[in-house]
């Protein structure tokens, strides 16, 4: 029941939020539901319930990690939303909260699905739930952004559906392969599944979910969308939505690896990983808009995720850990940048200077976020990136390691050059700055603390989940 509640509570709450006219009530509702969801996740973590709906909804380590991350990030974003909605009043404010909650419901569905078609439904729902959030300004630029996002995501996700059907076909061609499209049965029967169809399924699901993750060259919607969406939505997309999309890719990878197709998929994943890193690095060093910069940073991290997944060894462990770490770091960055944009009204780097002096708390958080997101010790992403690097070297890919490190260096230059100039630079014409409200900084501050903690210490339950998730993805604990 808990599993169903995780999906239904936010879904019903979305409808409930739409029904209420009073804005203050809606934000309270949002925070309450987010807290409840988080509590439910904790309960699930402490006592994992049995699968429901004939095995369609279940928890395993990988899903749990993503679910917990989504829930935590959503809670932080919900707190931020309280402060945000006091400062900005998006058109169609009622739909804003509803769409956020709908996103939570569909993301939870993705995290809990152990059925590929259901997973697809959840994934498409997340796409659609987010679209109105991007569009809330109703101006030309956000229109363009949402249009590109919608078309590209929908086309990609349609291809993922085709891949799902391929997977079903691969399963249907062998007798006794268990329940259709249920993850556990697919994994169990994987060695017997039809190879050609399985490979085809992987390719289409890779394109589909890869687009949602933002793998190069399927990433084109990301900078536009992240650049135009409100920062908290950008954060949610970069932190939670991308993690869900990664989960989809991880699920099919689980099946193909179990089928013994490692030699087929690993070069693909490594190739996409490096390509994404390279393109992100190239576009970052020319960037002039901080939110677009963050979008490319997100693409970079996506590249690292698939890279770790493709490397094997301790790579998958690093990847799953990096899902958490990069998710936290990206939301931290987006929310801190959000505060800056709220104060100055622009996300152009040139329009934001001397943030550490005008917005000391947000500035400090942005600074921490910069070092965290670029994988500097002692922050969490360092641990995961370092693990992925170790995987590259241990699995005999020294050139991949060299490329990865060289690109990370370029990425660092790109990010540091812009963000540090924003933090320290001289203010030209300073606008009026509202003081930083507690709602706007408590969430990112908590994230910063969490990232620092994960860089120094991984709690035992999390460690346990990571090891099991890595094992499911063909990896081992470092």
């Amino acid at each position: 029941m808990t599993l169903l509640a995780l999906i239904l509570v936010p879904a019903l709450a979305a409808a409930g939020a739409y029904a209420h006219r009073e804005a203050a009530y809606r934000t309270g509702w949002l925070v309450g539901v987010a807290a409840l969801h988080l509590a439910l996740v904790v309960a699930v973590w402490l006592a994992p319930p049995a699968a429901v709906l004939g095995g369609w909804l279940a928890v395993d380590a990988l899903g749990l990690v993503v679910l917990a991350l989504v829930s935590l990030l959503f809670f932080v974003v919900a707190l931020y939303t309280v402060g945000y909605l006091r400062r900005e009043d998006p058109r169609g404010g009622r739909a804003f909260v509803s769409c956020l909650l709908a996103f939570l419901a569909s993301a939870s569905l993705v995290a809990l699905s152990h059925h590929f078609a259901l997973l697809w439904v959840g994934m498409e729902s997340t796409t659609l739930a987010v679209a109105p959030l991007i569009f809330h300004r109703h101006d030309r630029r956000s229109l363009e952004a949402v249009w590109k996002y919608l078309v590209l995501s929908s086309v990609a996700i349609a291809l993922a559906l085709l891949g799902t059907f391929f997977l079903a076909t691969a399963q249907s061609l062998v007798a006794g392969a268990g329940r259709p499209l249920v993850l556990e049965d697919l994994v169990a029967a994987a060695p017997r599944l039809h190879v050609a169809w399985l490979r085809g399924a992987f390719i289409f699901l890779l394109v589909g979910f890869g687009t949602k993750m933002g793998l190069v060259p399927l990433h084109t919607w990301k900078p536009d969308t992240y650049g135009e969406a409100p920062s908290l939505v950008g954060g949610l997309m970069a932190g939670a939505l991308a993690s869900c999309a990664f989960l989809g890719l991880a699920r099919i990878t689980q099946v193909v690896l179990a089928a013994g197709l490692a030699a087929f998929v690993r070069p693909l994943l490594i190739g996409f990983g490096l390509l994404s890193l390279a393109a992100a690095a190239a576009f970052m060093i020319l960037q002039s808009d901080v939110k677009r910069l963050l979008a490319y940073s997100s693409i970079e991290h996506t590249g690292l995720l698939v890279l770790g997944l493709g490397l094997g060894g301790v790579g998958p462990y690093g990847t799953v850990l990096h899902v958490i770490n990069s998710g936290l770091a990206k939301v931290l960055m987006f929310l801190a940048v959000g505060n800056v944009v709220l104060a100055t009204g622009t996300s152009a780097a040139a329009g934001n200077r001397g943030i550490l002096r005008t917005l000391p708390v947000s500035g400090a958080l942005l600074l921490i976020g910069l070092f965290a997101v670029t994988g500097s010790p002692p922050f969490g992403p360092f641990v995961s990136e370092f693990t992925i690097l170790r995987a590259a070297l241990a699995e005999g890919h020294p050139w991949v390691a060299a490329g990865m490190v060289a690109l990370l260096a370029i990425v660092f230059v790109g990010m540091a050059a812009m963000i540090l100039e924003m933090l320290h630079g001289e203010r030209g014409s300073a606008g009026a700055h509202a003081p930083e409200s507690g709602w706007l900084v408590v969430g990112p501050a908590a994230l910063a603390a969490a990232i620092l903690t994960l860089g120094l210490y991984i709690p035992a339950p999390l460690q346990d989940a990571l090891v099991r998730a890595a094992a499911a993805l063909g990896g081992r604990a470092p």
Partner: protein, 657 residues
């Protein structure tokens, strides 16, 4: 180890007190000074015990992170560095309190104190870490904190630029270290140093990859040529006590890293030793040549750090070569010289930067050619600065001579060895050249800044700085003299550290080492003799002159009737013959006309190589822009093309699993 951590905690507490009590500056300042001082003393206790011959101590923290437990420990090498870091760190931090006091109104001074405390703590932890992940964490915290201190005066574009270049350089170096430890740890059970040392013999190609990565990763931090490009800007842009910390201590962590690498890896192959020796020579000679061409006092001192890193590397390279050619005396002396020069350079270079800070505070400028005659107005600063400059030049009876002497011993002993190692003896000539050039440069600095007459009004109006700044400077100057006069105090510990790196057990059993220990006593004796003879000579001179008429007049103007201050020889002119002789090597641009003469030093690595390559990279990246022109149908085509490419891959994959 309890004392060690307690000391670090006290230092950190001092930093936090400075922030928390910032509304009551006198209280905060005093508490900060007391806590940092106390913490340094307490934290140094275990290090002293180890260096005095006590056993190696360590403590292991089981963290649930990939890479195994975090081990912190003190062996002679770590202990030596910890001692340097805490001692010089505390002196600089105390100086900083008085130095920054004037800026309390418009800059977050309390935060700077906290950052300095954090910097000292992270430095000590870098030296004490005995596990890769703990090391990297301490390493990067140190780098980031140092960055924040470099951009303390962030309203100046110069500081921001220097800070960014520093940060990028150090982060790139850190990335190289990531690869280093990841490569090394491929076969190790975890990433503690003990496990890494255990698998060292199995590394492919004798650990060539690790050694090269170490040179890059640690080399950036140490600032060896050509990886020094970040150093002058960062050191010049920082507040002066931070420059002292950066130049005296932070860059030494790069040397520590190399020494630690060698101690874990075992004797490196000969090619590495030759490479380090060559890099050391290049850094030493080019560093001092670039320094000669500088006009900014702090930039000049920064380039001297490059030079001294070169000297340290000469020692390190000799250590490696001694190990590679199985001449343990050379190995031990080389490493010992390196370690000793680390300490000495930390002392006199931080003192020089503090002196430069006092000059800048008192006059408001760092331009050497605007200064002059400060020795009368700032006698204590002058005296300490003079001691430090004589020390950095390597003159007896001061500490710089002692460590350069040890490095010379390693170089010369290579000459009396057998085989290809003898070739290294030419390094001695190089070191001689470096010393002579350094003498020229510090004659210029001392002469133009402190002697003669003030060239501009700001120098004429200078006043001696307060006691808060003078006391740390005097302490460091006394340390220069003490080590110079009683080198026995530090040579024993340094030999232990050097012996550890060289992997030689009973170092005192080596004939050459015993000889060196005897020679060090002779050096002490000669220092005393020199001081005594000088004193005697001065007394004699005073006695003679007491009965003679002594007049005071103008400087002899060679017949020119009205000499004025503008006629004094400037720093540019002073250095001109040398700078011009080496101009092609040093990338110096000379501008001269009938009435003026000016040299412009551009850092060839930064300006000519790196920034140009970066520009090219940006141009290249710019060519990729058309990929994202905003056209949705093109984006859709990418999706289609990806599908097609993947299907082709699928078709090529063949039927097998």
């Amino acid at each position: 180890m309890a004392f060690f951590f307690a000391g670090l905690a006290l230092i950190l507490a001092g930093g936090f007190v400075a922030v928390l009590a910032r509304r009551a500056p006198p209280v905060a300042d005093h508490l900060f000074v007391v806590l940092v001082g106390l913490g340094s003393v307490v934290g140094a206790v275990p290090a002293l015990r180890v260096l005095a011959g006590g056993g190696v101590v360590s403590v292991s923290v089981a963290v649930a992170l990939p890479g195994g437990p975090w081990v912190f420990g003190l062996d002679p090498l770590s202990a030596f560095f910890v001692l340097v870091f805490l001692g010089v760190g505390a002196a600089s931090a105390m100086y900083g309190v008085a130095y920054l006091g004037a800026e309390r109104g418009h800059r977050p001074v309390a935060l700077a104190h906290l950052l300095v405390a954090m910097l000292i703590v992270s430095l000590a932890l870098v030296a004490a870490a005995q596990a890769a992940v703990a090391f990297l964490v301490a390493w990067e915290v140190m780098a980031i904190v140092a960055y924040l201190l470099v951009v303390f005066e962030s309203e100046r574009a110069e500081a921001r630029r220097a800070g960014l270049i520093y940060l990028v350089a150090t982060h790139t170096g850190t990335l190289a270290l990531f690869v280093l430890f990841a490569t090394w740890g491929v076969r190790a059970s975890d990433l503690t140093f003990a496990s890494l040392a255990a698998v060292a013999p199995a590394l492919p190609y004798g650990g060539a990859a690790v050694l090269v990565l170490g040179l890059v990763g640690f080399g950036v931090k140490a600032g060896l040529v050509p990886l020094h490009f970040w150093l002058p800007g960062a050191h010049a842009a920082s507040p002066s006590h931070v420059s002292a910390l950066m130049s005296g201590l932070v860059i030494k962590t790069g040397i520590y890293g190399l020494l630690r690498l060698v101690s874990l890896l075992g004797a490196p192959p000969a090619w590495w030793g030759w490479a380090v020796l060559a890099l050391g020579l290049a850094s030493g000679v080019l560093g001092v040549l670039w320094a000669l061409a500088q006009h900014d006092l702090k930039r000049l001192l920064a380039y001297h750090s490059v030079e001294n890193i070169g000297i340290i590397l000469l020692g390190l390279g000799m250590g490696a070569l001694g190990g590679a050619y199985h001449v343990p005396v050379v190995a031990v002396l080389g490493y010992t010289g390196a370690v000793l020069h680390v300490m000495n350079h930390a002392v006199f270079k931080s003192l020089l930067f503090l002196g430069a800070g006092s000059v800048a505070r008192a006059t408001g400028t760092r331009q050497i050619d605007r200064l002059g005659g400060l020795s009368r107005l700032m006698p204590v600063t002058w005296l300490t600065f003079l001691v430090a400059s004589a020390a950095i030049v390597g003159l007896p009876p001061l500490n710089g001579f002692v460590s350069e002497w040890v490095v010379f011993q390693a170089l010369l002993r290579a000459g009396v060895a057998q085989g290809p190692l003898r070739l290294a003896v030419f390094g001695a000539a190089g070191l001689g050249l470096i010393g002579a050039l350094a003498l020229a440069c510090f004659a210029k600095v001392d002469g133009v800044v402190f002697l003669g007459r003030a060239r501009e009004a700001e120098a004429a109006a200078a006043r001696e700085v307060g006691a808060g700044m003078l006391v740390p400077m005097i302490a460091l100057a006394l340390a220069c003299v003490l080590i110079g006069v009683a080198p026995v105090l530090v040579c024993g510990p340094a030999l232990r550290a050097g012996g550890l790196v060289a992997g030689v057990g009973g170092i005192s059993g080596l004939a050459g080492v015993a000889e060196t220990v005897v020679a060090v006593r002779w050096i002490a004796g000669s220092a005393v003799a020199l001081i005594a003879a000088l004193g005697l000579g001065l007394l004699l001179r005073a006695a003679i002159l007491r009965r003679r008429p002594v007049a005071v007049d103008e400087t002899w103007g060679c017949g020119y009737a009205v000499p004025n201050v503008r006629m004094q020889y400037t720093a540019s002119s002073f250095a001109a013959p040398l700078v011009e002789a080496y101009a092609p090597l040093a990338g110096v641009h000379v501008e001269r006309s009938a009435t003026s003469y000016a040299t412009h030093a551009r850092d060839p690595v930064l300006e000519l190589a790196l920034l140009r390559s970066w520009g090219r990279l940006r141009t290249l990246a710019g060519r990729l822009r058309p990929i994202q022109r905003g056209r949705l149908h093109v984006y859709l085509l990418y999706v289609v093309a990806t599908v097609i490419a993947l299907l082709v891959y699928l078709a090529a994959a063949g039927p097998a699993r």
